[in-house]
Every structure is written in structure tokens, then in C-alpha cells.
């Protein structure tokens, strides 16, 4: 993971904050490193939380609810959240709708997605015009290979972003997704995330945090520290 971090920090261009929808159908942690997105998502049962930074210029916190069918092969996610915008100070609001379809074998998997992650500037002003909003329509694919308890694989999302009163632009994300579908990892990461996901899980983390879990936490710390830098 330490090798992936510089790649993530060097990323620049275009994308949309996702981490939760990269995760598998089980509870677990999902880390997305790519261009320009860096995100961390955590699931417990059907509820999740994600923290993502784009271009190291924003930081968004989103909560999500998922609805699964076919033993997790089909899924609908609804998400909402808030973001801090740093380049031109402000706040953003997020609403997201994602439909997923998975095919997971013992060693290989694939996830396809259709996502509409709507963003709206709630405070501050940057773009021409009084309202700044962004609605990308994204098609995504992620290949997944299972290495021990880790699901790992490249992800690609491409689409078009619409903004009221402005020309459409390209949106997308190229990255590497890592998912750890174990309750132990979830508990540990959430405990270290500063209470983002609730107090109850922290108790379990104190009992069960292991070496692998700490590594996830270290990555998260590095990402947050990097995000805080200009």
C-alpha cells in the first residue's frame, strides 16, 4: 500500500468521489486509489460511510444505505453527504444513486455500476453563474482478484457531467480498488477514523485490531494528512 500512496497523491484530472460502491457485498473496508480520487469506504451490514478527496482539494464525507438482492449480486445504493471545498472555500452537498451488478467467483470478480453522484455548492462561489451544481452520469467497471482476504483490482468509471447553464464535461475515474470483507477490518478502521461511523464499533476494534488492520489505518492517516496539505 505504501507504494500506491505516491501514485494516488500524484493523481490529477477528473473523477467523482466513490469508495463505498467499490466494496464487496459483505461488510468490509474499501480503499480507492486513483486519478484523481482517493477514498475510503466502510460498510457494516447495509449502512456505510465514505471519506474521499479529489485532487487533494476537497474532502467529502458521505453516508450510504444499500439495498441488496440476489444474495448481493444486485444492489442499489443511496448516499448523501457533505464536502469541504478548499481551493475556493465553500461547502458542497452530495446526493448519490448507484445501481450495481456483481459477479463474484472464488478468485475473480467483476462489478458493473451506473452512478449519478449529484453535487451542489452550498456555500462559497467559484463558477460563473449563481448556482454551481454537477450531475455526472457514470458507467463503471471494476475487476477484482482475491488475494487472501483482500479483493483487489482496477476500476474505471467514465461518463458525462452536466452542470446547469454550462456545457457538459467529461467525468471519470481510473483507479485501484481494495476491499477487505472482514468485520475485524471494519471495526479497526472505523475506530481509528475518529468516530465517523459510530461509537459502538470502536469497542470491538480495541479488542481485535491486528497488523493488517493497522496498515489500513496508517494509509488512512497518510491520506488525511496529505489532504490537509495545500
Amino acid at each position: 500500500m505504501s507504494l500506491l500512496l505516491p501514485l494516488a497523491l500524484a493523481a490529477a484530472a477528473f473523477a467523482d468521489p466513490i469508495a463505498l460502491r467499490q466494496a464487496g457485498p459483505e461488510d468490509g473496508a474499501a480503499l480507492v486509489l486513483g486519478a484523481p480520487l482517493v477514498g475510503l469506504g466502510l460498510w457494516r451490514e447495509d449502512w456505510g460511510v465514505s471519506l474521499a478527496t479529489r485532487d487533494l482539494a476537497t474532502l467529502s464525507l458521505e453516508g450510504a444505505r444499500r439495498f441488496q438482492r440476489d444474495a448481493g449480486r444486485s444492489e442499489l445504493q443511496l448516499s448523501a453527504g457533505l464536502g469541504a471545498l478548499w481551493l475556493e472555500p465553500g461547502l458542497s452537498g452530495h446526493l448519490g444513486l448507484t445501481a450495481l451488478r456483481r459477479a463474484l467467483g472464488p478468485r475473480l470478480g467483476w462489478t458493473g455500476s451506473l452512478s449519478l453522484p449529484f453535487s451542489l455548492r452550498l456555500a462559497g462561489r467559484a463558477a460563473p453563474g449563481p448556482v454551481e451544481a454537477r450531475l455526472p452520469v457514470l458507467l463503471g467497471n471494476q475487476l477484482q482478484v482475491r488475494l487472501g482476504r483482500l479483493w483487489l483490482g482496477p476500476s474505471l468509471e467514465l461518463g458525462v457531467a452536466f452542470s446547469p447553464g454550462r456545457p457538459a464535461s467529461m467525468a471519470g475515474h481510473l483507479g485501484l480498488g481494495l476491499a477487505v470483507p472482514t468485520r475485524r477490518a471494519v471495526a479497526s478502521v472505523q475506530a481509528q477514523a475518529g468516530g465517523l461511523a459510530g461509537q459502538g464499533l470502536g469497542d470491538r476494534a480495541a479488542d481485535q485490531g491486528g497488523a493488517e488492520d493497522r496498515q489500513v489505518v496508517v494509509v488512512e492517516e497518510q491520506l488525511l494528512a496529505a489532504a490537509a496539505a495545500p
Binding site: A12, P89, S119, P128, S163, R166, S169, L224
Partner: protein, 298 residues
């Protein structure tokens, strides 16, 4: 875990306007006359800054500005703005000769760094860069007082950047003037509905852009307009350091590049002086005059 700085502190740190000095491309020289087709007396310096785009994206912009010998903003502002949009797969740096030329004549050039060097994929980056410069101009830093918001601006683009410039020009009325360099408006861009001025320039030996399409696009322009065909200029003559593939697919340069560029700039300078500065002599020349080294159509 290292504590995150508070949001207000981050905002204060990151909202700072760009700081100088810029890196000099051209020393100031009061002996340069700055007539149309000649560099002006200002120095030219560049720096890059980032701004927010489309809620959450980061847009990097190269700014080439009239500068003093130290690379700070020159006296004599506020300066009119020209947004320069790069051609497909051409780096912004490759147009610095053009940006420096314009800056030496007292124009502030904003060159957005489009994702993947494809301007059409984000066809409002020029407008976003202009908005950012309006804010920076109102703050401290190297661009304090650099421009006057609301003053006419131009958007010009080379090749694919020209097609994108037409989109921006239609979309945003702050862009009074449109400059098409070896380019033409895309069919989906309703330029017929815009009565603002436009200039289209193309080289006579350009083998990349279809000259018939350039002429067809020019005829769609509804406002004051001028089409200039520069004798001997090709497609990659508009930018520096062309790659082998740029040269292979293009026609030959027929003449000295500096001279051919000066011919092109004679028309572009006149166009900008007329519509961004309100120069009456330039306006008359734009409407009725001749330009060295090019065939004209109005």
C-alpha cells in the same frame, strides 16, 4: 492520527490569491513599438494557479501576464483578458510564444490546462478561469487589480481549442470576441445566433484542418467578422516544438516561421485592439484594411 487543521484555517491558507513573481518569458523593452504585428513594450511572465471547477474539480490555469523586469505584474493595468485554449494533444507551454506576444502588448492570457489536453471534454474551462481571475484580481497577490471585471474579454483557440472557444463564446457573453486559429466552430455550436465579433485565421498550407470547413464555419458567423488565410503557414506553425507526427501529417512551412507568425499576429493584434480596447483605428482596419501576407474575406 495527525489532527486536521480547522476548516477556517484551511480556507484562509488555500484561498490566498496567486503570489508572484512569475517566470519571465520576455524582458520588458520600451523600444518595442507594440504596433499590430509587433511585440509590445511589456515584459511577459508566466505562473500557474489552481481554481475550483464544477463544484469539486481542480482546474489548473497558466497565466501569462504583462510583467516588469522582476516578473511582477507591470504597471498600466487593468489589462484585458484573452483566454487561450490549447489544440488537441498540444501542451499549453507550446503556445507560450503566442501568450508572451499578447502579454507584451498588454493582454493578460489565461490558458486552462484541459484534462488530457482535450479542450472539448470540458468546454467551460476558459469561463471558469476568467471567473477565477476576476476573484484573484480583487484580492492581494500578484494579480491585485490585474483585470477589470465586466470589461470585454476574448476567447481564442487553436484547432480543437478553437471549436471549444466557439462553444465558450456562445455560452458566455463576457467573451466579446472569438478567435479561431486554424479551426472552425463545430456544427452543434450555434454561432449563427451570436452577433459579437469573430476572427478566423488559417494557414494556406495547413493540411490538418480542412480549409473548406474553415470557410464554411466562417460563413456561419453572424457578427463583425474577418477570415484571413496566411500565405505559407501550416497547422503546427501555431505552436512550438511540434512532434514528428505533427509535422508528418501537415503541409510544409513556406517561409520563415517568425515572419509568418508576425503576419498572423498583425490581424490578431488588430482584432483584439479593436474589440477589447475599443481602438478606433484598429476597428477601421479590421473592417476595411489589408494585412500583410494574407488573403482576406469579410
Amino acid at each position: 492520527m495527525a489532527p486536521l487543521p480547522s476548516l477556517p484555517l484551511l480556507s484562509a491558507l488555500l484561498a490566498c490569491a496567486p503570489q508572484g513573481p512569475g517566470e519571465l518569458l520576455l524582458e520588458p523593452d520600451p523600444d518595442r513599438p507594440g504596433a499590430a504585428g509587433q511585440q509590445g513594450p511589456f515584459g511577459a511572465a508566466w505562473l500557474r494557479a489552481s481554481t475550483a471547477a464544477r463544484v469539486e474539480e481542480r482546474l489548473r490555469v497558466e497565466i501569462v501576464f504583462p510583467a516588469d523586469a522582476e516578473g511582477e505584474l507591470a504597471e498600466g493595468g487593468p489589462f484585458p483578458v484573452v483566454a487561450l485554449l490549447q489544440g488537441g494533444l498540444v501542451d499549453v507551454e507550446q503556445y507560450r510564444w503566442l501568450s508572451a506576444w499578447l502579454a507584451s502588448r498588454g493582454y493578460l492570457v489565461l490558458a486552462p490546462l484541459h484534462a488530457h489536453r482535450l479542450a472539448l471534454l470540458s468546454a467551460d474551462d476558459g469561463a471558469i478561469a476568467l471567473s477565477a481571475m476576476e476573484r484573484w484580481s480583487g484580492r492581494g497577490g500578484v494579480f491585485a487589480g490585474a483585470i477589470e471585471p465586466g470589461r470585454p474579454a476574448a476567447v481564442i483557440g487553436h484547432s480543437l481549442g478553437g471549436a471549444t472557444a466557439a462553444v465558450e463564446w456562445v455560452q458566455d457573453e463576457r467573451f466579446t470576441a472569438l478567435g479561431l486559429l486554424a479551426s472552425f466552430p463545430a456544427g452543434f455550436s450555434p454561432v449563427e445566433e451570436v452577433a459579437r465579433p469573430a476572427l478566423s485565421l488559417v494557414g494556406s498550407t495547413d493540411q490538418v484542418v480542412d480549409l473548406a470547413q474553415v470557410e464554411e464555419g466562417f460563413l456561419r458567423l453572424a457578427g463583425p467578422r474577418l477570415l484571413g488565410e496566411i500565405e505559407g503557414l501550416n497547422h503546427h506553425g501555431w505552436f512550438d516544438d511540434p512532434r514528428p507526427r505533427d509535422i508528418e501529417r501537415d503541409g510544409p512551412l513556406e517561409g520563415e516561421l517568425d515572419e509568418l507568425r508576425a503576419h498572423a499576429m498583425g490581424a490578431l493584434d488588430t482584432f483584439l485592439d479593436a474589440w477589447l480596447r475599443g481602438d478606433a483605428a484598429a476597428l477601421e482596419r479590421f473592417e476595411t484594411g489589408e494585412f500583410e501576407g494574407m488573403e482576406l474575406r469579410r
